[in-house]
Amino acid sequence: MARHNFLEKTAAQIAAALKETLADEELAARPGLLQGLDPRAKVVSTALLLLAVALAVRLEALAGFYLVTLPLAWLSRLPMRTFLRRVWLFVPLFTAVIAIPALFLTPGEPLLQATAGPIHLVITAQGLRSATMLVLRVATSVSLAVLLVISTPWPALLKALRSLRLPQALVLLLNMARRYIFLLLQTAEELLLARRSRQVGRLSGAEGRRMAAGTAGTLLARAYYLSQEVHLAMEARGFRGEVRLLTEFRLRWPDLLWMLGAVLVGGSILWIGR
């Protein structure tokens, strides 16, 4: 069987991204612990826990925070594999790259040493601890954010942000970014499929790059056209720079208890690990 070329891989990845977005909506609609809470309570508690994670100074405290996210995902009936994949795929990409130099550059007690010609590398205990702290801090923060986003329908999340006085321009931008990323992904998929339907044989590397550049250019032009037309469509319906939304949330006792719980859990872990 022929190896998948660039075109097929890209089309498959776009299709997978689209499917994942649709799957997220189903996860947010499942009956579960987090799904049953008022979105505002979830946003506030997530913000509090993120603050606590940022303030934690001990590895044990961060590990405690991270361990709290796992039962939350389980009790919210989120597929653990998806949850862990999203966190741990992201972490090496953006954090490990930054954390690796800390292993070697942080002064302290040598743990491992290696010499290759003129290069002498030393991993210190303090360096290992710093790198682990960084990775764990990011993993815990991403886990909390993923829990919030995956357990809350997107419109409800936006309304919660708005009702918590986040600037409406920001909320509107978030909404439109997601709306049109989805549309542009669909366009990209169609472009690639249309290209593939006319393709005979395998593309050379240069041809593949040329085709990718062409697709990117088309998408950019489409995005530009969309941004202009969407603005006109908003103006046509009375938009004058200020969006008005209807928000209909009601805080109940479980929501208040949840927020109190977040404060207590965050505070306790920080206190224990101070």
């Binding site: 329908p153 709306r179 969407v230 006109l232 469509a233 046509a236 319906r237 009375g238 939304l245």
Partner: protein, 274 residues
């Protein structure tokens, strides 16, 4: 006939209007037209003839660069549209349904999309809810009210785009290729809606290359060709002139098979989605 409409009675009056896009691309040249109250006007033209630009100009989204344009007796200029009261009145009284529903559906859910216009125009929350629910029932969209726009079919998107404009209860409806994306059944339903809209008294400006819908709905027709008004008149007179329609690229000659026989005759463009 709308030509007899007095200066103060006309809803739209355009006199020798011109509009050029950046890059010296002339979209409209020397356009003169009058739309009176209750007029059902069809603007016919092939793709690229300037129809969409003309509608945006009538809705105060683009501004004429030559000539004069008036809506409800007031000039349509950047200066007059800076007047909040006039902009509010224009967008309350005139509803524009865009050619591409994707540019018009930017909200997180169908419900939010339909509520956008009334909220922007400052209607009370209770009235917004009542109007939105009424519109959802009337257009059979109640089942999809919580769906994001990207999860709708082409026909559903078109219906939501229409609902999002009709909910404001405009006096004038500007429609840009309204039958694109519609299946035959939805197209018939839409035709019924146009004929009944405002008890047949609502003002309608329809830009299309669907000659059949123009014949059913319009009482006045303008034919646009490369940004010029080629001809203006009664639908019977214009739609019966095959040479004129061929000149405007609205019909063309091509082959057809009837059983074993293949022959050529003129053929109209009916539904071209984009």
């Amino acid at each position: 006939m709308d030509r007899t409409v007095g200066q103060d009675e006309a809803i739209f009056r355009l006199q020798r209007v011109g509009y050029t896009y950046p890059g010296d691309i002339a979209a409209l040249t020397d356009i003169s037209l009058v739309v009176g109250p209750g007029a059902h006007t069809a603007i016919l033209g092939a793709n690229g003839s300037g129809k969409s630009t003309l509608l945006k100009l009538m809705d105060g989204l683009y501004f004429r660069q030559q000539g004069e344009a008036y809506a409800f007796g007031r000039p349509l200029t950047e200066q007059t549209l800076e007047d909040e009261a006039f902009a509010h009145e224009l967008h309350r009284r005139v509803g524009l349904v865009f050619q591409d529903p994707d540019v018009q559906l930017f909200s997180a859910t169908v419900w939010d999309e339909i509520a956008f216009g009334p909220l922007q125009l400052g209607l009370p929350a209770a009235e917004v809810r009542e109007r939105v629910e009424g519109m959802l029932q009337w257009l059979g969209l109640a089942d999809v009210k919580d769906r994001p726009p990207y999860r709708l079919s082409g026909g559903e998107k078109r219906k939501v785009a229409l609902a999002s404009v009709l909910v404001v209860q405009p006096e004038v409806l500007l429609l840009d290729e309204p039958t694109a994306f519609l299946d035959p059944r939805s197209r018939c339903q839409f035709l019924d809606f146009l004929l009944e809209w405002g008890n047949g008294q609502g003002t309608l400006v329809l830009c299309t290359h669907d000659l059949e819908i123009a014949a059913e709905v319009a009482r006045q027709v303008y034919v646009l060709d490369h940004g010029h008004v080629l001809v203006e008149g009664h639908p019977d007179q214009i739609l019966g002139d095959e040479a004129l329609l061929e000149q405007a690229n609205l019909i063309h000659v091509h082959g057809h098979r009837h059983g074993e026989t293949v022959h050529s005759h003129r053929h109209e463009h009916r539904q071209h989605g984009h």
